[in-house]
Amino acid sequence: MIKLDKLNRREAVRYLGGAGIQLNYRMDRLMDECEKIVLSTAEPKFLYKEFDLPFDEIIKGKDIEGHLDGCEKAVIMCATLGNNIDKMIRINQISDMARAVVLDSFSSVAVEQVCCKVDELLAEKYQGYYMTFRFSPGYGDYPINMQMDYLRLLDAPRKIGLTTNDNFLLIPTKSVTAVLGLSKNPIERKKRGCAVCNMRDKCKFRRNGEHCGF
């Protein structure tokens, strides 16, 4: 069980394109309210599963091979905030769009924080191992349709209600699938960085000379 008790407001503001903006009182209040709503609506759930070399079931393309290079184990994981978050954002889109975009942004922050907690949990479980960062289907040449295989391998639809549609979009939408590599030997701690990112030509952070943080 993962429970979040605080959300990273700076991240939420950044997602909204407000990095560097001085929030006024009303915006601060709105952010406060939305953080509370997201914290009370989110139902974080996650699953993970360990694989030993040669990782046949999850290798597809060069980038994932590079990512897991030198690793003896790989752990695939998925995490979701559940259906209620989607419904709550949907309702707010009708009653108050400004609030809805803030809620949406906090929800994205929340699912990332859930993933970080899973990272911590795994780090604890696999003491003595070095761990890569989370690499997700859709990064580099790692096909997005691997999300379907991940969910099947994790039995995610049945166990935590996480599914995809025909176009491999995760439903509920505030969800993540990823893989981490584990090695007894030190791994060059690469940043995710823009080099492997599919979004590098169109990313709004890059456009403004920033970085998404991953």
Partner: protein
């Protein structure tokens, strides 16, 4: 086979245990889909069935749980091959015994709308294919279901394509709900209504943890209860379960008092568990439950028990409402959703939904509106139409147990409407009128009510599900009629034992101070036994009268609901709305009510509306846009400003429609998130901005069929289309949509060039890509969409 007599032939019916656990233990390997073992290892699968039959199973589930077209896509076998083989294996295994074979069907594996993208009708087709393929089974089982809407599609597919008995079980989490938020009570009410033969729970939790769920189900249904629990919880590392056969049987025994009749095991259970339960049951008797609660309606997540006056909101109805009619014509579903949410906030517990209007296809609209409301609002709905085909479509696509509004004493109505109510397990409003019109006397109306109830009962609808409307007549026209209505209501309530419903507001037509007359009539009617007043819940005194009545007649115990409703209602401070702000300040700072107030004041001072729009509102919005681009303000502020401008526009629109009927729209624009994509928040932001800049947006929603976009453009003669897509995987739908727009003759100039301007946006798009797929404009954010609209439409 007569399933009832099969059930009655024994005290308890034993199901089997897990299939997956045995497959896993056997160590056999398969590629992705365990159901392929039906064909590659038929003997192995048959041996599992035999083991269960030997252990005492009266019904074994064939190995067909995931055998649907979605999950079998790349496995090399068809649904028909896998299911036929699965049933064959089970039939052979139990040959010579009395054991029955069930076609076992789990969820499709994709989420249905509104959470997901799969439609109800698509889900129906998946199940239909499986049910036809499983024609050799003795019984149909749906299990591990988490979405009541999907399960409804499954049950209808079974009912309409076979005559086999149906067992339906859902999977609940520790919080007492399924993943999609379904309550056990809602499952019980809805599934019993649809005519399944037994209902219950399976998977997810052990038998101990299931007690609250089983007990809740048993309070809402008479049907035999099924349990098929997991052997406790799996260890995350070893995947071993932690409840062993003897303890499992003991825990099951503790649940027998809830009317449990049909028993098996789910994940982690084996033939040993089944033997142990059979042993435990030897000297036990079936203990049918006593259904505690008998008149309810529900959505998938909320039950409303009709145990005292409950408010039905009347506002979703175009009659006499110009804006509502326009919203229907424009397909402006958000307007209707706003009405739904504000009524629920006002205190409505059920919402009437009427979308009848001569200029639209009522049937399509009813389905669209019901689905949309159920996506954002938990209140049960009352489907209101005079047309049986509209009621049929609405009932089919409603998630839960709704009310039908209405049937009346006319032969045609009784014959057309009641069978629908029965088929879909709804409640129904019965109007006390017939071929002879509305009887003047209470006696006449009571007689019609009696006839409606008799006819309903004759086809198996309980009188508890018939809500009689004794009809409110206008007191200014027929003053004596009011007393007749109340007399009839009293008799229906006491002599027929039916619940009653009344549209209240009719009473006061033509009188001054209508609210006072309405409220007084409402109070009198409640005293005579009115259960379901249909009112405008946003009129505080009406809703308040119902709440107070519930306290005074000892229904609202300890005044809990009343206190909840009013506790924090410190009177709102009187805002001086004509404040010193000007329109610019109001819009720039997103001060909605101030913006509206100052606009009204300007109009009252006879400022030209177009001056307000062009010289005050638009410049303010432009400044906001400019600051947004310069990163001085961020997205939520941009939207708040736009919303404030909208409030100002609304005041002006209202004023103009009163004075001249003139429209201030700057042109129509279609917006849609393309087929396959369900991330629509970006599109919705664009919509808010375009709306607020004075454009009329025809919002087609998300996951939109390209054909619908093109057809709408032709029908409504729309020259500008905005498309959004979030994912690389859905960009191809965007390309296809643009191709279809370009290909349509009616959208071309005589020289073959396109009349339509297409602008596109979405996180993964670039300008180059947008041009490559044939768009006219690429807009990187909502602000650029507005700039583009200005450029194109002015």
């Amino acid at each position: 086979m007569d399933f009832k007599s099969f059930l009655n032939s024994k005290e308890f019916i034993m199901l089997d245990g897990a299939m997956g656990t045995l497959i896993q233990k056997s160590g056999v390997s398969y590629d992705h889909v365990p159901e392929t073992l039906n064909i590659t290892h038929p003997e192995l699968i048959a041996s599992f069935h035999r083991a269960y039959a030997d252990a005492g199973s009266d019904i074994v589930y064939a190995n067909t749980f995931g055998a649907n077209a979605y999950k079998l896509k790349d496995c090399g076998y068809s649904v028909e091959e896998i299911i036929t083989a699965g049933i064959d294996n089970a039939k052979k295994a139990v040959d010579g015994t009395n054991t029955l074979v069930a076609l076992d069907l789990g969820p499709i594996g994709q989420l249905l709308e509104p959470a997901g993208a799969l439609t109800f009708d698509e889900a129906y087709e998946y199940y239909k294919q499986q049910i036809i393929a499983g024609k050799n089974a003795d019984i149909i089982v749906f299990e591990t279901q988490t979405d009541l809407f999907e399960l409804k599609a499954a049950v209808l597919a079974a009912k309409e394509n076979s005559d086999k008995p149906i067992i339906a079980t859902m999977t609940f989490e520790r919080n007492g709900r399924t993943f999609t938020g379904v309550l056990p009570a809602c499952a019980a009410l809805t599934l019993e209504g649809l005519g399944v033969d037994a209902i219950g729970v399976n998977c997810s939790l052990g038998p101990d943890e299931l007690e609250p769920v089983v007990s809740e189900i048993s309070r809402y249904t008479d049907l035999p209860i099924v349990i098929k629990a997991n052997a406790g919880l799996p260890d995350p590392n070893s995947n071993e379960y932690d409840v062993f056969p003897a303890d499992f049987a003991k825990s099951v025994e503790a649940l027998l008092k809830y009317g449990v009749k049909i028993i098996g095991g789910c994940c982690g259970t084996t033939p040993e568990y089944i033997s142990e339960i059979v042993n435990m049951l030897k000297d036990k008797k079936y203990q049918p439950q006593v259904k505690m609660i008998d008149t309810c309606v529900c959505s998938a997540s909320t039950v409303v028990e009709i145990n005292g006056p409950r408010i039905i909101g009347e506002r979703i109805n175009p009659t006499g409402k110009k804006l509502f009619k326009q919203a229907l014509v424009d397909n402006n579903i958000d307007y209707i959703l706003t009405q739904a949410l504000s009524q629920v906030n006002g205190g409505a517990e059920i919402l009437d939904v009427n979308v009848g209007h001569p200029e639209i296809d009522e049937k399509t609209m009813m389905v669209r509106v019901l689905k949309a409301i159920q996506g954002v609002c938990d209140a049960p709905l009352q489907i209101d139409s005079t047309k049986p085909d509209v009621l049929d479509a609405g009932l089919r696509h409603y998630n839960g147990k709704p009310i039908v509004n209405s049937v009346n004493g006319e032969e045609a109505s009784l014959n057309n409407v009641l069978p629908l109510v029965k088929k879909y397990g709804a409640s129904v409003v019965g109007l006390t009128l017939d071929e002879g019109g509305i009887p003047k006397t209470a006696e006449g109306r009571f007689e019609i009510a009696k006839r409606i109830v008799e006819r309903a009962e004759a086809i198996g609808i309980s009188r508890k599900d018939v809500y009689i409307d004794c009809l409110t007549l206008t007191v200014s026209a027929e003053q004596e009629a009011c007393q007749e209505t109340l007399k009839a209501l009293h008799r229906v309530k006491t002599e027929l034992g039916c619940k009653t419903v009344l549209g209240v507001s009719n009473i006061s037509f033509g009188l001054p101070n209508r609210e006072l007359v309405n409220r007084t009539f409402l109070t009198m009617a409640m005293e005579e036994g009115l259960d379901l007043p249909i009112i405008n819940p946003n009129i505080e005194s009406m809703t308040g009268a119902v709440r107070a009545y519930r306290v005074l007649s000892n229904i609202d115990k300890n005044s809990l609901e009343f206190i909840n409703a009013y506790n924090d209602s410190t009177p709102a401070p009187v805002v001086k709305q004509t404040a010193d702000v000007d329109i610019f300040t109001a819009v720039y700072n997103g001060l909605k009510s101030e913006g509206a107030a100052v606009t009204q004041k300007l109009l009252d001072d006879s400022t030209d509306p177009m001056v307000i729009v062009n010289e005050m509102l638009i410049p303010a919005l432009d400044k906001v846009g400019e600051d947004f681009e310069k990163n001085k303000i961020f997205l939520p502020q941009l939207i708040q400003s736009a919303n404030t401008a909208q409030e100002c526009f609304d005041v002006i629109k209202n004023y103009l429609s009163k004075t001249s009927g003139e429209q201030v729209s700057k042109g129509k624009i279609i917006l849609a998130t393309v087929k396959g994509d369900i991330h629509d928040i970006g599109k919705n932001i664009v919509k808010v901005l375009l709306d607020n800049y004075g454009y009329t947006v025809v919002d087609l929603g998300r996951d939109v069929d390209p054909q619908l976009i093109v057809d709408t453009a032709v029908e409504q003669n729309i020259k500008m289309i905005g498309l959004s897509a979030l994912m690389t995987t859905t960009l191809k739908s965007m390309e296809e949509t643009i191709k279809l727009v370009r290909a349509r003759k009616e959208l071309q100039n005589p020289d073959g060039s396109s009349k339509c301007i297409v602008f596109v946006g979405g996180a993964v798009l670039t300008k180059e890509y947008a041009m490559k797929i044939g768009a006219d404009y690429y807009c990187r954010d909502a602000k650029e969409s507005v700039d583009t609209a200005k450029l194109v439409l002015g």
